[in-house]
Subunit: 201 residues, 4 copies
Amino acid sequence: MNNSIDDLATALAKLPGIGPRQAKRFVYFLLSRPGGERKQLADLVLALDKEVRQCGECMRFYNDRSGSICGYCGDSKRSDAELMLVEKDQDLAAIERAGTYKGRYFVLGGVLTLSGTGVIREKELVRAVEKRIKNGLKEIVLALSATSEGEHTVDRVRELLAPYRDQIKTSQLGRGLATGSELEYSDAETLRAALQNRKET
Amino acid sequence: MNNSIDDLATALAKLPGIGPRQAKRFVYFLLSRPGGERKQLADLVLALDKEVRQCGECMRFYNDRSGSICGYCGDSKRSDAELMLVEKDQDLAAIERAGTYKGRYFVLGGVLTLSGTGVIREKELVRAVEKRIKNGLKEIVLALSATSEGEHTVDRVRELLAPYRDQIKTSQLGRGLATGSELEYSDAETLRAALQNRKET
Amino acid sequence: MNNSIDDLATALAKLPGIGPRQAKRFVYFLLSRPGGERKQLADLVLALDKEVRQCGECMRFYNDRSGSICGYCGDSKRSDAELMLVEKDQDLAAIERAGTYKGRYFVLGGVLTLSGTGVIREKELVRAVEKRIKNGLKEIVLALSATSEGEHTVDRVRELLAPYRDQIKTSQLGRGLATGSELEYSDAETLRAALQNRKET
Amino acid sequence: MNNSIDDLATALAKLPGIGPRQAKRFVYFLLSRPGGERKQLADLVLALDKEVRQCGECMRFYNDRSGSICGYCGDSKRSDAELMLVEKDQDLAAIERAGTYKGRYFVLGGVLTLSGTGVIREKELVRAVEKRIKNGLKEIVLALSATSEGEHTVDRVRELLAPYRDQIKTSQLGRGLATGSELEYSDAETLRAALQNRKET
């Protein structure tokens, strides 16, 4: 006989950052709730397939099955001159919250690690760039995290973009003091960038 | 139009210890998986209603709909003389992993806090104790955590059990050095118990 | 030219748990204080040699140069029947804070690790035990931490005490739930001890 | 009778980040070392007064009693056109490790908090700026941490520098992604700065 408590715990333990013990906690929490909540959770999981689609242009997930491209890709008020490459949907959301970027996006879907693991959407990226070049693309903003994986991914993306170097410029997010950075604990690279990017006040 | 990405994130953020950001992470993780995995997760959540029932005796959740009491309550090899009260199903599982207790259980379903929040299964407890007294119950083991909530819950349980004081004895799990305890950082109460419970070697 | 800022930082970085960065912080903190405070700190460090001595019986450090044994060893109201072995002075202080132990002490001065490092006062221990046996010693309480180093040290101490096994009994601090222990996160050994040491209430 | 173990612990507990328990640990550690090490530590503390002086120009502590100004202030190869204001000596050291700044320094000696605590060297700053303006100062770099205290301190420093606004420009360290920053967890201000400071690659 299979054990649905253990089976659900095993499934939940696949969620990012969740170990077997917390997964078990989740199961008992769900058991302690009214049946309607479990039904609703199951329905919401299934609704992802019905109501969410992946944008054919930027590859992000969006919540509308009416068209084949997402709101950002279909918005005629956003600039076609800039394309920002981000690792994942949540990074795109963080940039949108910052509120100043008004160009297009492409979601790489992952990062490459130094040990050779990780996958990014290479074919889709090249296809998107080639299509956008015809539509006035001038700059690609590499908006990867300031981590070794981010830098390694930038290296690969620059290889992929090498053939288009004459037509478009590429840029990377600026380095400097992040909110909360203390000088004493900042590394030399951050401090050098912070000094170079210093702003007149 | 409702937004199933946000709605699922909201539902997942109710899981114990999960904030809005991690909940969003879970949603994008689920979106990144094959559709079959989402279907399986939804099915496993729904299976809780079909395959798990709450034991009418000890109140724990168990994975078998064939009878109205769980394996521990129905096991004739376990002793009816002892009843252990635990806060939650996971605590019962921890005691079972320890492997030496062979009596019965009752799951209180919560703890009472000093600020007056928290609920335990009072009526079910009294009913279970009265029934078990007729079947040879001799000792109730209060197996609550060594926390202020645990102690507060013990106080309330002892009030509930006061009428049966003449018929059954009550005991509490022993205090002492837990695995990993360092003397220097141990509080006076723990050290006094450790000294009193010292074992000849 | 030597650099007294760096030299002092190097010396302070030897203190337990202090890295080079925090040591540097200490130096600049000291520099920021009035000169009198630095003088006082230096004097207090030197006073250790003048005012603190190591007890010839229990090996603890104590703050009185008037006699060759410490207050606990010289206190005629404490029992000679019990001798508690602890790792270090702070552990002895923790036991004293607990307030119930009224026997004698011996400070081992360290623990032995599984990898073979660590030193304890073996010769001094044997000498102290032999002397105390003549004075009515009945029980040696091994009050080591509930860690692998603690257990390994207990093994060695028991070897050293083997010749006296017929004359004195040895005991170990009791195991169980320490203050703050939660059942769900307690290991099997702790739970078995807690169950075995359960107290009638 | 005073207790030199406790007195030294009290003195050590004033060190930044050290509580009474760790201070006690330090004392027993010192007691466990050869007497020569205690003597050396006391000597090194006293040597601060003999061998370290505070630079009359930048207010930093330096390890040379031969002159009244430090090596950075006396180095004719460093530029008089730039003056960097830092909170503390360790921040200055971090900038030096970064290796690209070749101007002068001034150590404020603290930060101002929103709750009104904290002190900076206001008079010394004004005096240093007035003197340096005569020697060709063109830019003051406010190199404070990207924290609320840092920003609050910047506000006060700008008030102090207001009279010189026509003669010198002031700048602040650039904001952006610090090493290790992940996009998903970066705040809007950091991302806006990172986007604005983006670098062509």
